[in-house]
Subunit: 227 residues, 2 copies
């Protein structure tokens, strides 16, 4: 086991080095980068579809859609109007890592991009350990999953800056309680910014869009000059 | 990376050896063992609660409830009447492995047990690679997760013998289509046995219980003598 831990440490420190390079490169271009993480089926792709439809003509957005197999998510994002969307099929790996992102970015034209969203593999455990050079992780949780998930998968909620509670249109069809999930998540990470949305009904999405706009405007040179 | 692959191979072959020992030991005691796998929140614990309530006085059932953190699931199973329930907190690991199961079993009285159910960590990727000495894997998928999951996480569906589609009471609240998920799953694994259930409404559970009864009766010595 000692050997396993040693190799794991080496892999992680190599990942951290590559992630730091990505972060520097994105910051130089004033690109805001978000790493979307969640269980399979929480609605990462749905939220990105809505985001593209609402902001695609206003902000220059690029997306990397990670999956173990299939390019289904990338295809959905292109259909939603995404002009700079790349699939990233891991072929078995349970998470994205910085080397994969470096590879995909080298093949993308991101020179004028303002917002880069990376959709990680659906997995509430492993992606928490791999920095991709993002500004922040956004963790999604859907109301059909159970409100104790932040306690059961604490690393992901500790390392995320934002929690999006999706599928609030389905509240009442299970025992999921929004106040409980908020309390559980904040007990792990008191600094979490929380959104409640339904990608299906549209509830709460305006606040999400407004936050993204603000995030991007804070990074652009105009805002830097003004401030 | 070669070093990483080498260590991974070693870990897996060590796991296979321990899993074979568990399998032999369970077979000698005529215990049927199932390994429950799914995304977080698909309803593994709910299905086990219903199963204990329905069959707990009829069959001698033991359960191991795996989670990254918290003993919430084990507590729920005890409240549902489970008399032989052990929590298995991985403390970070994204899957259960055979060494963990060996440790827990050494601390359990399973001499007269007929059915052992292991609830894996909620993760549709990593647990697929770790044999726990079970007779078969049972993969759950809920109707709120998306019907393309078998294509996106093929290893789990290929290595499972049974697929339980849970939350069918919520059909119609999303685009999830039962025929599509069946077709997708069977394209990965044509031998999958499929159940459609709702742990909430009770729909389809009688067929699930009947199948468990049959599985156990086929393993008991009486059935062996008869056949």
């Amino acid at each position: 086991m000692a050997e396993k831990i040693e190799v794991k440490k080496k892999v992680l420190s190599e990942n951290d080095r590559l992630a730091a390079d990505i972060r520097t490169s994105l910051k130089e271009r004033e690109i805001v980068a978000l790493n979307f993480v969640s269980s399979p089926g929480s609605g990462k792709t749905s939220l990105l579809e809505r985001t593209l439809e609402a902001l695609g003509s206003e902000l220059r957005i690029a997306m990397i859609a990670g999956d173990v197999q299939t390019e289904n998510d990338a295809d959905r994002l292109v259909r939603a109007g995404g002009e700079r969307v790349k699939p990233l099929v891991t072929g078995g790996s349970c998470h994205l890592d910085a080397r994969m992102i470096t590879g995909v970015l080298s093949d993308m034209d991101i020179e004028d991009v303002e917002l880069l969203i990376i959709e990680n593999v659906g997995n509430l455990v492993c992606p928490s350990g791999f920095d991709l050079g993002e500004d922040m992780k956004v963790v999604l949780i859907s109301t059909t999953e159970g409100d104790d998930k932040p306690l059961k998968y604490p690393a992901m909620f500790r390392r995320s800056s934002v929690m999006v509670i999706n599928k609030v249109d389905l509240l009442g069809t299970s025992d999921f309680d929004v106040e409980t999930v908020r309390r559980n998540a904040l007990s792990i990470n008191p600094d979490l910014k929380i959104f409640e949305v339904s990608c299906r009904s549209g509830f709460g999405l305006d606040a999400w869009y407004a936050w993204l706009r603000e995030l991007v405007s804070e990074r652009t040179p105009a805002a830097l000059v003004e401030s």
